[in-house]
């Protein structure tokens, strides 16, 4: 941690922030400044303020269309990285995918066993989709599982939220759940959440959005450009055989 008193000095902070925005820092100092930005939000804000002040200078160079191959290679690169399994640095990290699948399987088993005894509904709703919600910034276990149940004669379609007891719950105050459509990337707002939400009823459009979603994303605030808190691929579950 960069807790040196030196970095608390407003003159030094101002100097580092402005020099960072100018691009004048030596590589070692630049790395330290970036670390400080990660750890100290008020310093990160000072840097951004300098970037904003100097931003009009970015309009000085004349635009030059980039060679066509850049876009082709770039799209291929991000496409393969998005779809390919992520290469992990060590064996423990490589277990993360399996941890998620095990969690999802356990949740599925628990839900299927417990549901018939707990539910007040006469007809059993079918668990059709499942999203293991993971923080984009954490390597820890997934803290939340969202299950999607189809409607029955007596109850609408719904999402159920279940926390992982081994992980500290994430604050969902003033957050919004979105579904990203698989083909188009269109966004559908499913619900604005409060910390006590465990079940969310869905209308037909929302259910359709869940059915066709690639991913569910929990975002801070009511707009989709807020901080991403948790996200998870929406899995479609096959029926039990036999």
């Amino acid at each position: 941690m960069l807790r040196s008193l030196r970095y608390q000095n407003p003159i030094i902070r101002e100097h580092l922030a402005s020099q960072y925005a100018m691009g004048l820092l030596l590589p070692t100092v630049k790395r330290r400044v970036e670390k400080l930005m990660d750890q100290d939000p008020s310093f990160a804000k000072e840097v951004v303020q300098w970037q904003e002040r100097l931003s009009p200078l970015n309009d000085i160079p004349k635009p030059v269309a980039a060679p066509a191959f850049v876009k082709e290679q770039l799209m291929a690169r991000i496409h393969s990285n998005t779809n390919a399994p992520v290469i992990r640095n060590n064996w423990w990290q490589s277990l993360r995918v399996w941890q998620g699948l095990v969690m999802a399987s356990l949740a599925l088993v628990v839900v299927l066993i417990v549901q018939p005894f707990n539910t007040p509904m006469p007809a059993v709703a079918k668990l059709s989709y499942l999203a293991v919600m993971q923080s984009p910034f954490s390597q820890d276990e997934a803290p939340l599982i969202i299950s999607a149940y189809g409607k029955t004669d007596n109850a609408p379609s719904r999402l159920e939220l279940r926390w992982n007891d081994r992980v500290t719950a994430v604050d969902l105050q003033a957050s919004t759940l979105w579904a990203i459509e698989r083909e188009t990337g269109n966004l559908t707002q499913l619900s604005q959440l409060t910390p006590n939400d465990l079940s969310i009823d869905l209308n037909a459009d929302q259910w359709s959005a869940v059915k066709n979603s690639l991913e569910l994303v929990l975002v801070r605030g009511t707009e989709f450009d807020g901080e991403v808190i948790l996200r998870g691929i929406c899995l479609q579950l096959a029926d039990w055989v036999g």
Partner: protein, 179 residues
């Protein structure tokens, strides 16, 4: 499209890129690549290397979009800083003076007559208010990504003097912009 509308569109597309929406990323690329490539070419005149840097920069934009904070600053500034950092890092890895003409004089930038500031009257006015050498060094360092030692050579001034021009110039700019 007005500058404001253009920046709003960049903002909206980056918000979708944060959610890993590939079509939005392709649109963001189409909308911004010429400006960012132009920025990089000022720092790295070699077109092949600049294209490579551009690809790395957009790759970072895709993979690190979640780090962008809309509540702190504009999407366009974030894209420019990320791209400039990428170009400057590449520049520092190479011996820049070997790539460009050694007797290349600093390009002259004018804050009052160039017409560069139609959308940014405040910065133009404030750049005009500071001393000419401060103005030239700040703009040259920013646009070309020159290090202190490169600025010393190109402006033929002692290191201490140059650092002082930049430090004082930035301080006066900030005071002028906040006045």
């Amino acid at each position: 499209m007005s500058d404001d509308a253009w920046k709003r569109e960049v903002e909206q597309l980056l918000a979708q890129v944060k959610l890993k929406h590939q079509p939005a990323f392709a649109q963001l690329y189409d909308l911004t690549n010429a400006k960012l490539y132009g920025l990089i070419l000022k720092i790295i005149p070699d077109e092949a290397i600049a294209a490579d840097v551009l690809q790395d920069a957009y790759s970072k934009i895709w993979f690190q979009a979640e780090q962008y904070r809309a509540d702190l600053g504009s999407a366009w500034s974030w894209l420019c800083q990320l791209t400039r950092n990428q170009a400057i890092d590449r520049l520092r890895q190479r011996n820049r003076l070997k790539e460009t003409s050694e007797d290349e004089a600093p390009e002259s930038y004018s804050a009052d007559t160039s017409g560069l500031w139609p959308e940014h009257l405040d910065l133009g006015r404030c750049l005009q208010a500071i001393r000419a050498e401060q103005q030239q060094v700040i703009i040259s360092a920013y646009i070309h990504g020159w290090s202190h030692s490169e600025l010393v050579e190109r402006f033929d001034a002692p290191l201490g003097t140059l650092k002082s021009w930049i430090r004082r110039g930035l301080k006066e700019l900030r005071e002028c912009l906040e006045a």
